[in-house]
Amino acid sequence: MTTGVAARARTIIPGFGLALGVTLTYLGLIILIPLAVLLVKGADAGAAKIWAELSSTRTLAAFRLSFGMAFVAALCNAIFGFLLAWVLVRYQFAGRRLIDAMIDLPFALPTAVAGISLAQLYTVHGWLGAPLAQAGITVAFTPLGVLVALVFVGLPFVVRTVQPVLEELDREVEEAAALLGAPRWHILRRVVIPPLLPAVMTGGTLAFARAIGEYGSVIFIAGNLPGYSEIVPLLIVIKLEQFDYQGATVIASTMLIASFILLLAINLLQAQMRRWQGG
């Protein structure tokens, strides 16, 4: 908001130099320098090595799986997240407050715990895996397992971005539309859903950004077969363990750039959300 505007007339509040100094030093040491080193080392590899690394069958398969499944998971989260937010805000039913409080579980639960518990749940002998296996669906150790884990970790994003917007939504507009004789479905489609869409998009993008980098909850259920169910973050870890630092650096730099682009998209979406809510 303040960028580009001349600094406010001198304030009497002290501590600007100290607070900003601490902030910039710490950010520099913990975030900026380490990430800059990653990008420099990635570029250091040279065009030929970068191309060879990124165009290898194994890397390409990992990128396809990570980005593809993250996209499908974000889509599932957008649909079910919207539905959950709707039900939690608009309806009264037993257990509503419990579900509301538990929505944040994937944020609070350590990813390794989520990982082993989902894996156990979906193996062919698991509580959900056994009935699914009878229906001919294998989840554990397939790309479907990756999807399940990513839907789990991304669930809170859409719910928590849509919920406050839905709570603030002016119901009088809906009533007016109803009084004017619009059927419920039209009201939803024309009056209720449009102002919620930026929130759904923002939440979905947040879930997507989280999903492409997710590691702990995925690796136990995925089976990690190279070229089939191996995600990009795991490929980075494997290359590090094999001391192929250059390969790991090239792939990680690519992921980092993708994350920055997504961060930019999220900021733009949130700015748009604020405009929607303000106007």
Binding site: M1, T3, A7, T11, I12, I13, P14, G15, A19, L20, V22, T23, I31, P34, L35, V37, L38, K41, L83, L84, V87, R90, Y91, M102, D104, L105, A108, L109, P110, T111, A112, V113, S117, Q120, L121, G126, W127, L128, F152, L155, F157, R160, L179, R184, R210, Y215, G216, F220, V232, P233, I236, V237, L240, Y245, T249, M255, S259, L263, I266, N267
Partner: protein
């Protein structure tokens, strides 16, 4: 003669102000089913597997010296990381919300970076800096300082991933509060420190606690970043989440889920306290992780 109130009520029923009861019931059923299968069952599995061979086996698994070492390291990490990132969060929020300067939005975005970056990358950058082949690797080796595959690496990687929590709770809260209270206190003769402790701190305490709570939860549960730098040395550099992985990969399921059950209880305590804090503070911050 039709009673007007009754008439109005009937009109209200005809007006489509909500979904039909059948649609309502179906939507609630889908939401509850999703909640059960995606949130409740994974929790129940942890306890079912941990207690599969009874309480004695559960207790024995938690009494292993390796498990205790993992708990100690996790506790140590949280005790170091949470205060550092709390001080940073308060300093960053103070600078950003009480003063005007150019580049503020860029600074806010930078603070958010660890949330958008894969935790694996969060650990890996420190391998590139402090590992044997890293930028400072030779110098560290000469001076016999070990960071990677040692406790300092675990702590630094956790600092990276938990950096934003306190700052991003405080910034919107303090932005809303403005600086008038502080300015009044200062004009009445309070010192800067007095103003912070007596005026600012009471104003932000619930938001601050909220941020500290989330920061602590993540510090205890972090896996990806720590997995890259720790080297999984059992009894030395294995945190609780890493110990869960080690046990699980050794097919020691009871022990893996027993340690995991402690982490579930931590997550549960976090959620309960979070709900309490949200109720306590009238404010609702834009929630995001």
């Amino acid at each position: 003669m039709v009673d007007t109130a009754q008439h109005a009520r009937r009109a209200g029923q005809l007006l489509p102000l909500s979904e039909r009861p059948s649609v309502r019931a179906a939507l609630i059923a889908i939401a509850v089913a999703f909640f059960l299968s995606f949130l409740l069952l994974p929790l129940m599995v942890v306890f079912a597997e941990a207690l599969r061979y009874g309480l004695a086996a559960y207790w024995a698994a938690l009494s292993e010296p390796e498990a205790h070492a993992a708990m100690r390291l996790t506790l140590l990490t949280a005790l170091i990381v949470v205060p550092i990132n709390t001080v940073f969060g308060v300093a960053a929020a103070w600078a950003i919300t009480k003063f005007s300067f150019t580049g503020k939005n860029l600074l806010i975005t930078l603070i958010d970076v660890p949330f958008s970056v894969s935790p694996v990358i969060g650990g890996m950058v420190f391998v590139l800096l402090f590992g044997l082949q890293g930028v400072f690797g030779p110098w560290l080796a000469q001076h016999d300082i070990k960071i990677i595959f040692a406790v300092p690496g675990v702590i630094i990687a956790t600092l990276f991933v938990t950096l934003p929590f306190v700052a991003r709770e405080l910034i919107p809260l303090m932005q809303k509060q403005g600086a008038e209270h502080e300015e009044a206190a200062l004009m009445l003769g309070a010192s800067g420190w007095q103003t912070f402790v007596r005026v600012t701190l009471p104003n932000i305490k619930w938001g601050l606690l909220y941020g500290v709570l989330l920061c602590n939860g993540r510090a205890i549960g972090e896996f990806g970043a720590v997995a890259v730098v720790s080297g999984h040395i059992i009894g030395l550099t294995n945190t609780m989440p890493l110990h869960v992985e080690t046990l699980y990969n050794d097919f020691n399921f009871v022990a893996a889920f027993a340690v995991a059950s402690l982490l579930v209880m931590m997550a549960f305590a976090t959620l309960v306290l979070k709900t309490v804090l949200e109720a306590r503070a009238a404010w609702k911050s834009p929630r995001r992780q």
